[in-house]
Amino acid sequence: MIYNEEFETLPREALEALQVKRLQQVVQRVYHTVGFYKRAFDNAGVKPDDIRSLDDLKRFPFTTKQDLRDNYPYGLFAVPMSSVVRVHASSGTTGRSTVVGYTKRDIETWSELMARCFVMAGLTKNDIIHNAYGYGLFTGGLGAHYGAEKLGASVIPISGGNTKRQIMILQDFGPTAICATPSYTLYLAEQGEEMGVDMRALKLRVGVLGAEPWSEKMRQEIENKLDITALDIYGLSEVMGPGVAMECLEAKQGLHIFEDHFIAEIINPETGEVLPEGEVGELVFTTVTKEAFPLIRYRTRDVSRLVKAPCRCGRTLVRMDRVTGRSDDMLIIRGVNVFPSQIEGVLLNIPGIEPHYMLVVDREGNLDTLEVQVEVGEKVFAETGEVKVLQQLSRRITKDIKDYLGVSTKVKLVEPKTIQRFEGKAKRVIDKRTI
């Protein structure tokens, strides 16, 4: 089944002609409405009129996460706030998150793209969707919710957490599909088993799972434990939210990018050079229809590959490989994006902390864990030498990281000078997870 047959199966030539037309419009619009883009284009010596083909896009400058932070909160909005009907934001230290906005039409577009994703997963208005993505500033919850309503399916807006209750609802309400992060889905399956629930006997048929990297092995485990088909969905709040790309039920091989709304490029993260089709590199997105928060050549830092070969589902949309890694140091802990520099920012705001730390990421069962190792210096200890002072410090670190970044950590205080010192670029992360 295809939700929007016309746009999802356009011949490539027609699709690319549509992309060029929409690209020309968005480039004109941002140049005249967003100061940041005007300066960036002027500095790069390019004008909106320079777009004559898709190939001309590569002459335009990239937009980075740092640009988004520098223009916090509304600096990159291309419409007045009176036209913005909703904002979302990603986590950030001390308020420096990245904020995105949507007009009424943006929400409609997003809802349609999410509806396309659900149909791609074989769902119809007769399905009941258990939406365990978090509702709130995170785009996952509301994004999937609006898409499910657009499709006409019944949504259970359960949001994240409260696992026992989720398992009860999975049994009693009889949802046929689940939206969640892959790791939480697996956790639900395991907790259910522990509670003596036959998780394979639930009515669940399909999982639309994303917001973090996962492996083929994990997919098999989820499919086995829940007796469902588990499909990968991709998105990021900057570009829109979930629903930028989705794996189809028919092929389960790569995620179809909705190219009538987004132009995808793969670049060499070191040089910025655009790589030929089929090569692995960093994904870059340009949004061609977004009104409130258009992005030109946004560097996602996600590592993937693009394949234009026709798909057996009938869609002509390009497919991206499941994301295999990052071209920067961002960590995804239980679906929450965390940069080591953000944790550093939190630590440096706590009096008495030494600027030496190490992050150890691991996976216990199927849940990510983050341990923050911090050296205990003279400053915090010398005054009193008391155990309780150290325990307070440890609790404060955990709380501050949770408050600012939304991620739970385990703090380990270590002896001074035991964390490795670096002369060049510090290696602050030990990631023990095998994906």
């Binding site: 205990v376 010398a382 002896e415």
Partner: protein, 144 residues
């Protein structure tokens, strides 16, 4: 006031941690007079009273330890049933809180020596002295 200087050493919970402390102190010729190890699930703090606190701090720091200092009180406790109770009774009446305590290695005549950490050190000393208990001065404790 008759306070005693206690040094505290932060230790991770790992084999060999304590052994390294005692080795550093032995090599510096420092004698441990009393000690107590406080542990949590993640780390420990070793509390020591030594014959030369200054020197001990110096050699421990040189060897990379985080060392803290705390004022504690050494009290002579009658070595008989109810001895400790009589002290705690006097303090409890005045709402002094004992944060932790540990026993000294040696006896002093008919008395045991107990090291106390109070929430209000000066006030506790005042009460104890007034109630007729003997609070030992630092110099005496270090060289007993």
């Amino acid at each position: 006031m008759n306070k005693v200087e206690q040094i505290s050493i932060f230790l991770e919970n790992k084999p060999g941690g304590l052994e390294f402390v005692t080795r550093v102190l032995r090599d510096a010729g420092i004698n441990i007079r009393a000690l107590s190890l406080a542990d949590t699930s993640d780390f420990g703090v070793l509390r020591l009273i030594v014959n030369d606190a200054e020197k001990a701090k110096q050699v421990l720091k040189e060897n990379g330890f985080t060392v803290g200092r705390t004022s504690v009180v050494a009290v002579l406790v009658p070595d008989r049933p109810g001895g400790l109770h009589s002290i705690l009774e006097a303090l409890s009446k005045e709402s002094i809180n004992v944060e932790y305590m540990y026993a000294y290695v040696e006896r002093s005549g008919e008395h045991a020596i107990i090291i106390f950490r109070f929430n209000a050190t000066d006030r506790a000393i005042e009460i104890l002295t007034k109630s007729g208990f003997t609070v030992l001065p630092g110099e005496k404790v270090y060289s007993l």
